[in-house]
Every structure is written in structure tokens, then in C-alpha cells.
């Protein structure tokens, strides 16, 4: 009997584990899956070490990059200043579009989900397995992070919080097989579901083969899954091939570099609200239509330099950071004249009390590299820039 003792023990250990697996697989179907104690212990044992190492690494890296290695900083500074100028010009155009979109939304009583609060977190570890594409971050329930919260970077969507512990959380990446995100293709407005494959690629499913999808098309979240707010960039279409079961096989290049994540943002609070009429400077439908009509000749400069009207100065400021009103004090860039859209005073008059921008009815001049159109272009509904993230 003792001859088979070890084999018996082996069978017993395997049997217990298989039994445990069976219980878990059965329970996974239920919505409320509690965290196993062994998982909690392991994470509690490993994450403090990871946090300490990341802290040391960042400290040393900071000393090196901020005090020692400053080669090329002057050149980079010049380039960044130029980039800021370019972005300011683009911001003017986008704020026009956004303001117009808000007015229309107010008129239609259109409700939208806004990102109200985010928590910045550092990536401290991974699952250590190629079959489980998940990461650990250094913020948990103590920082307001909870299960099923969306995780993003400045580049795009990363994933969602799968489990939240006291001071850390596990995030399931969008390239994992078990993840699923409702998405919409930016140009064609087709809806689908983004999933990861066994090899770690990202694909869009549930798009019929008779639809037209072109490589390079941007993909954003649709907001239909109630986890990810609408309009977050997910990636771009890389390759489109006919797949099985009448659906296209659409390969996606994620916008966020999922294999080199360092810092992420967890969306801890979302708000569903419609822009109020007050927010849109009490604009009526007729005002919007007036903008589309041929403009009245401009006022002489003497009149234009009068102090701003109460209507302009009392323009309400929004709390959302991503969409900045024109009233936020965008400095005039020499050599650039803003295109005149119509005779509506609020479009060309800053609300900060500063002298109003002079409206000149001559062709707009843009500096090299500027993306501001010389003529007002059509608004771009549905783009991520229109929405405050």
C-alpha cells in the first residue's frame, strides 16, 4: 500500500484543485464574484515590493532626467512652444465646434456622459502570465477605485478595473480574451465589440461583411456598455479581411501602448447631464441659423474696441477641463486672423474683459504648420475632441 502512497497523494491534490476549479467556473457565471482569500494574500504580499521598486526606479530616473541628463532640452523647449502655438490655434477652432454642438444638444435636450473625476495611478505589476493580460495599479478602494471603472491614458483606452483591493487594483486590458468593449467606427459610424485574441491582438467583432471599413479609420468607445464613457479613442483599423459567419475580421492597433504602460487614469466618476441653455449663452435656434447665413459687413474698428457687453462678460465657464471655452483667454497669435463666421458678437468677443478680438474681413493667414482652416469648415459631430474627457 505504501508503494502507491505518493501517487495517491498526487491524485488527491489534483482532485482537490480540479474540484476548486469546477466550483470557480460554476460561480463565474454569477454576477457577484467575491475575491478569493488566496488571491488577496498573494496580491498583498507582492504589490508592496512592486510599489517600493517602482518608487525607487522613479526617484533615480527623476534625478537622472531632471538634473543630470538635460541634453537637447533647449531644442525640445523650442519645439514644444511651437506646438503650443499650433494647439492654441486648433483649440480656437475646436471650441467653436464644441460650443455649437452644446447649443444643439441643449436644444435637443440631449444627455451625455461626462467624465467628472479621474484618479491617476502608477502601473506596478503584471499578472506574469501570457494567458492573462492584466496589470496591477497602485490605487485601490482607499483612493476611490472600484470594480468596473474605466482605465485610460492620454493616448486612449486601456481597460477596466477587474478587482479592487485596499491599496491596489487589477486592471483587465482590452487585448485580453475575456474583455469586451462596445465601440463605434468614427467615419462609418458602425458599431461593434472590441475583443482580445489568444495571441494578444485586438479585433472588432460583429461588423457585417457587406459594410465598408477602411484601414486607418479611428475607433472610439460607443458608451453602450455603461462602463466606458462615449468617445474615448480605442485605436485605429489596421487590417480588414472577410471573416467567418458573415462578419468582418477587423484588426485594430490600440492607441495606448498596452505593453509599455506606466501611468494610467481611472475614471472614478461619470455624470449624465445635458448642457443647460445658460451654458450656451442663451442662444436661440434662430441664432444658430443666423450663423449659417451670409454675414453682415463688419463694424468699424472704433466700435469693435468698445468694452465687452454684459452678455459677453457673463459667459458661464464650464468645469470640464478638456473643452475650453474661447473665453478662457486665448492670446492672439501675431499674423493670424480668425475667420469671421457671422455677425454674432459672442463668437468674436472674449468674455474675460480683455479687448475684443478684431474681426477683419480679409482672407485668413495661417503660419506654416497651422491647422486652422482659412474658411470655417463644417462641424465634426462625434469626434473625441468635441467631448470633454
Amino acid at each position: 500500500m505504501s508503494r502507491y502512497r505518493n501517487v495517491t497523494i498526487l491524485v488527491a491534490i489534483l482532485f482537490v484543485q480540479v474540484l476548486g476549479l469546477a466550483v470557480q467556473v460554476k460561480r463565474r457565471s454569477s454576477a457577484d464574484e467575491s475575491t478569493r482569500v488566496i488571491r488577496l494574500w498573494t496580491v498583498s504580499a507582492v504589490t508592496p515590493l512592486e510599489k517600493a521598486l517602482v518608487w525607487c526606479q522613479n526617484g533615480l530616473g527623476g534625478i537622472w532626467s531632471n538634473y543630470v541628463y538635460l541634453r537637447g532640452v533647449r531644442q525640445e523647449n523650442r519645439e514644444l512652444k511651437f506646438e503650443i502655438e499650433r494647439l492654441r490655434l486648433e483649440q480656437v477652432r475646436l471650441s467653436d465646434d464644441a460650443q455649437q454642438a452644446r447649443r444643439l444638444q441643449a436644444l435637443l435636450s440631449f444627455k451625455e456622459t461626462y467624465i467628472a473625476k479621474t484618479v491617476a495611478a502608477q502601473v506596478i505589476g503584471s499578472s506574469g502570465s501570457e494567458q492573462s493580460r492584466s496589470i496591477y495599479i497602485d490605487k485601490g478602494t482607499s483612493a476611490g477605485v472600484d470594480k468596473d471603472m474605466a482605465v485610460i491614458t492620454a493616448d486612449g483606452l486601456v481597460g477596466r478595473v477587474l478587482r479592487a483591493f485596499g491599496s491596489s487594483a487589477q486592471v483587465l486590458l482590452i487585448n485580453d480574451q475575456s474583455s469586451g468593449v462596445g465601440v463605434i467606427l468614427d467615419k462609418s459610424r458602425l458599431q461593434g465589440v472590441i475583443k482580445g485574441t489568444a495571441s494578444g491582438e485586438v479585433v472588432v467583432e460583429k461588423v457585417m461583411t457587406d459594410e465598408q471599413v477602411t484601414p486607418g479609420e479611428r475607433i472610439v468607445t460607443s458608451g453602450g456598455d455603461q462602463i466606458f464613457p462615449k468617445g474615448i479613442t480605442v485605436g485605429t483599423v489596421m487590417k480588414v479581411t472577410p471573416g467567418a459567419d458573415l462578419f468582418l475580421n477587423i484588426r485594430v492597433k490600440p492607441s495606448a501602448n498596452l505593453s509599455r504602460l506606466e501611468e494610467v487614469l481611472v475614471i472614478t466618476k461619470k455624470e449624465d447631464r445635458a448642457p443647460s441653455v445658460a451654458e450656451t449663452n442663451s442662444v436661440r435656434a434662430v441664432d444658430i441659423l443666423t450663423q449659417r447665413l451670409p454675414s453682415v459687413p463688419d463694424k468699424p474698428p472704433a466700435e469693435a474696441s468698445q468694452p465687452s457687453t454684459p452678455e459677453g462678460s457673463a459667459a458661464p465657464k464650464r468645469k470640464d477641463a478638456a473643452v475650453v471655452d474661447k473665453s478662457a483667454g486665448i492670446p492672439a497669435v501675431p499674423g493670424v486672423v480668425k475667420p469671421v463666421i457671422g455677425h454674432k458678437p459672442t463668437t468674436a468677443r472674449p468674455a474675460t474683459g480683455a479687448p475684443p478680438e478684431r474681426a477683419v474681413s480679409q482672407p485668413a493667414v495661417s503660419p506654416p504648420g497651422s491647422s486652422v482652416p482659412s474658411q470655417p469648415g463644417p462641424s465634426q459631430p462625434g469626434t473625441a475632441e468635441d467631448k470633454p474627457h
Binding site: 470557480q24 506574469g128 502570465s129 492573462s132 496591477y136
Partner: protein, 172 residues
Amino acid sequence: MPITYTSQEQVEVYRFSAPAAILIPLVALFLQAFLPLRLHFFSLFDLPLLVVIFFAVARRSQVSGMLTGALIGLLQDSLTHQPIGIYGIANTVVGFGASSLGAKLDVENVGARFLVTLFFYAVHEVVYFTVARGLVKLTLQWSWGHEIGGALLNAATAAILFTLLDRFKQRA
């Protein structure tokens, strides 16, 4: 070939101090979770598996080998988001097999360690895939190139790593 058949009396049995027995698997787990973030290619390595093989071969006890494998495997499972037990089962089988082999063969030199790790890496992957697909219904992709590359890489690492870990051995 350096693998030699030895009688039970000739085989040396080792044990490890409690700190070494606890810390070595924990450090392996920690490195496995931390390094792939910085060095992406590191996800090809399986340090916890190498530690299981090392302990099993050195202790030459089947019960100890399979318990070590089960424990390290379960801890490894805890870091993933998948059901706990997939790595546990695979490492239990590897722990049992490696300790059984260690009890019969002298696998103390570099060449033997390379071959043993190569073999048990393959065993581990087969068991893992079988359990993940058969019991948990996970969709996994078997890639021969990836598996062979991983086996060679882990075997080469084991040859070096085991030499370092030999310092923690104590004669039983």
C-alpha cells in the same frame, strides 16, 4: 550524456532553510510579475516553474515536490484573473515528475539540468493547455514556435539559475 543512473543510496538529498524555502518562490513570483512591464520579452520566462523544478529535483521527495508545485502554482494563479488552480495543477504534476526523476537520476550538472527543464517545460505547457481548454474552456492558441522558443530559453536560464540557487542547498 551527463545523465547517469544511480542507486538510491548514491543520490544526495538536500533540504533548504525556512527563509530560503519561502523567499525564493516569492522572489520568483515577484520578478515574474514585475519584469515583463519593463522588459516585455521577459513574459517568455517562467521563473516559478523553474523554482518548482529546482526544489523538486534537489529534495527528491515526491510529496514535497508536488506540494511545492501546488503551492507555487496556486500563488501564480492568484496573480492572474483566471480561475485559481490551472497553474496549480500543472506545477503539481511537474513537481511530482521532477522529484521522481531526481530520485532516480543524477541531474546535478548543467547539461542534465538543461534537458530536464526542457522536458518539464513541455510537460507543464501540455498540462496547462489541457486544463485550461478542457476544464475552464479558455480559448488558447498553441504555437509550436513560441513553445519551442520558450522551452529553450527557460532551459538555458535554468542551467544558470540552478547554479546560483545551489548555494542555498543544505545536506539533509
